[in-house]
């Protein structure tokens, strides 16, 4: 079998269920692939791992991938299992925030490490400076959990529909005590969790062949996971070596993730792509990318993968 390594963007959880399902159910094996899945973590930058030769393909958000491309690392999107964005800003209702117009003067928790781009684009679209001040917002670099909200160190924090949001709920705060702003609803959604490879490797037909098989098996995994959320969650749980995850949380995550992957067969939707690029280019003095990217995606791989 051919060796193939996938670098995830974050730790083992249902966000990546499709890949674990494909591995567990032998979909990769059937494609004659020997796949290694490497979990990510707070200071793993998947593009860097890719550049260092530590992986063949990575899961990454498109804003970060395009920024990396501009920074000189030619990443190419080869598949897009996630159709919609799961990102949102979650605020405590008792802070009095009802809409984006209430943001100025507030403290907002944001993920950095390449995950800040969607937020920054949104703010520049709204014309709110992020350097503090009475007209701007105070930005906190949010850690890996939802404590800033619970401790009231921030008025709003970044959450994913499938993960942090539920942690807030689990912590005992009722849904009606929360106000959420989905990036999708705000019209600033960017594409998340796509598969990226290095551009020059695509010219190697050998590699391209492996990649096609990998995408095909992975998408099989995703579809299986969407249909069997509970079993998928259990599979993920089995692969979690830290033993920190709970069944309940993973099943719920799988259910939420399924909503985001629904509607994608892995093919990059060019409309979504254009919207993402426009968001990143648009507004403000400090856009995430400064020029329309070229060659940042290819549809060849998914085309071949889905051919039969």
């Amino acid at each position: 079998a051919d060796d193939f390594t996938l670098q995830l963007k974050w730790v083992t959880q249902a966000q990546f269920a499709g890949y674990y399902v494909a591995l567990e159910n032998g979909f990769y094996e059937e494609e004659d692939l020997n796949v290694t899945i490497r979990p990510g973590g707070p200071d793993i930058a998947p593009p860097q791992v890719l550049a260092g030769g530590g992986a063949d393909v990575i899961v990454e958000w498109m804003p970060a991938a395009l920024a990396a491309r501009e920074a000189g690392l030619p990443l190419v999107n080869v598949a897009q299992p996630f159709k919609s964005s799961g990102m949102m800003l979650t605020c405590l209702a008792d802070t009095g925030i009802t809409g984006p117009e209430d943001f100025p003067g507030r403290t907002l928790g944001v993920w950095f490490f390449g995950n800040e781009y969607p937020f920054l684009s949104w703010m520049s679209t709204l014309g709110i400076p992020t350097e503090g001040g009475p007209d701007g917002v105070e930005v906190l670099r949010q850690g890996f959990n939802v404590d800033p909200l619970l401790q009231r160190q921030a008025d709003c924090i970044s959450t994913m529909t499938y993960n942090e949001y539920w942690q807030v709920i689990d912590a005992g705060i009722a849904e009606e005590d929360l106000i959420t702003f989905k990036y999708e609803d705000q019209g600033v959604a960017t594409l998340e969790d796509g598969l990226y490879v290095l551009e020059d490797r695509l010219s190697d037909p050998e590699f391209e062949d492996r990649l096609v098989r990998f995408v095909r098996a992975s998408m099989r995994g995703w579809k299986w996971a969407e249909e069997n959320p509970e079993d998928a969650a259990m599979i993920v749980l089995d692969y979690d070596d830290t033993g920190a995850q709970t069944e309940q949380h993973q099943i719920r995550m799988m259910t939420e993730v399924a909503k985001l992957t629904a509607g994608s067969d892995g093919t990059l939707d060019l409309e979504d792509y254009e919207r993402t690029v426009a968001t990143l280019l648009g507004g403000g003095s400090d856009p995430v990318i400064s020029a329309e990217p070229e060659g940042a995606y290819t549809l060849d791989i998914t085309e071949q993968a889905l051919a039969d």
């Binding site: 030769g53 530590g54 912590a171 920190a244």
Partner: protein, 298 residues
């Protein structure tokens, strides 16, 4: 008894402070919850609630103990993955994660303290090394490892070094420095007369080292080793993060932190502290033995 009583007293005092702290720090949450629900809370309510919160700011000691018990004994004995049912340590048990961390710590400590001693010997004996190595050893320590750890791991991975060694290298990186500093000082501690005596024998450098410098550096060495083993543990834990944080106490801490599981964090923290305490204690024991044999313990 004279040994146990003081420790017991101190531990009890800490527990008391801890409980008080738990009530004080967790009370806010209780009050907030009540306010959201529109209820009045009395002090006994607060007392009761702060002891059993799921996500306390500061978990009460018994919660941590319960978690420790569950994630060691109970997990191993009764769970599907436990050693009783599966024959291998459960990857959900602290014993497993503790072992992963411990092995990297020990390997890193050996490499680090060995390197530290070698460097110290070089610095004391070679002027060129004295002048050039020390400043760079210092500079090396000011580089935040957490920042370069992922790069180290990426680089090591790409040359085929995986598993225990990358973590051990990071742990060695942190632990060699205290040993260098302490050993350099210790190896220079013999006074003039003691050195002069060696000179009159025209002792070789190796002999001066073995018979004078080394013995008189012992108190410094042991103080450094205690710091170094603690640093090794920190290094091993730090090293666990960029490997994908899949196993080890560091992974446990981080995972606990992602999911806001304070009790789990504290349990892992206590486990790490116990490990550290045991290792420092062990070095203390060796120190007492060594010094007694050298007639230095009076």
């Amino acid at each position: 008894m004279t040994r146990v009583l003081p420790v017991l007293t101190v531990v009890l005092a800490i527990l008391a402070i801890w409980y008080a702290g738990a009530v004080w720090m967790n009370a806010q949450w209780t009050r907030d919850q009540a306010a959201r629900a529109g209820q009045e809370v009395t002090f006994p309510d607060i007392l009761r609630d702060t002891m059993v919160q799921d996500r306390p700011v500061l978990p009460a000691p018994h919660q941590v103990v319960a978690e420790l018990w569950n994630s060691t004994v109970v997990e191993e004995l009764t769970s599907r993955r436990g050693i009783v049912q599966s024959g291998t340590l459960s990857n959900r048990s602290l014993i497993y994660h503790g072992w992963i961390t411990l092995s990297a710590t020990l390997l890193g400590f050996l490499i680090g303290s060995g390197l530290g001693i070698v460097l110290a010997v070089g610095i004391v004996h070679n002027r060129a090394m004295d002048l050039s190595v020390m400043p760079w050893a210092i500079a090396s320590q000011t580089i935040p490892i957490l920042a370069i750890a992922p790069m180290i791991i990426v680089v090591l991975n790409s040359v085929g070094v995986t598993g225990l060694l990358p973590k051990a290298i990071i742990s060695a990186y942190l632990s060699f420095f205290p040993v260098v500093v302490g050993m350099v000082k210790g190896l220079r501690a013999p006074d003039h007369m003691q050195l002069d005596l060696m000179k009159t024998y025209n002792a070789s450098r190796a002999q001066v080292f073995a018979k004078l410098r080394l013995p008189s550096s012992m108190p410094y060495l042991f103080a450094s080793l205690k710091v170094a083993i603690a640093a090794s543990l920190v290094g091993a834990i730090v090293g666990e993060l960029p490997t994908g944080a899949v196993a080890g106490l560091g992974a446990r801490l981080l995972a606990g932190s992602y999911y806001g599981q304070t009790v789990q964090i504290w349990a892992a923290l206590i486990a790490a502290a116990v490990l550290a305490g045991l290792m420092v204690g062990l070095i203390g024991l060796i120190q007492r033995q060594a010094l007694r044999r050298m007639g230095m313990a009076r």
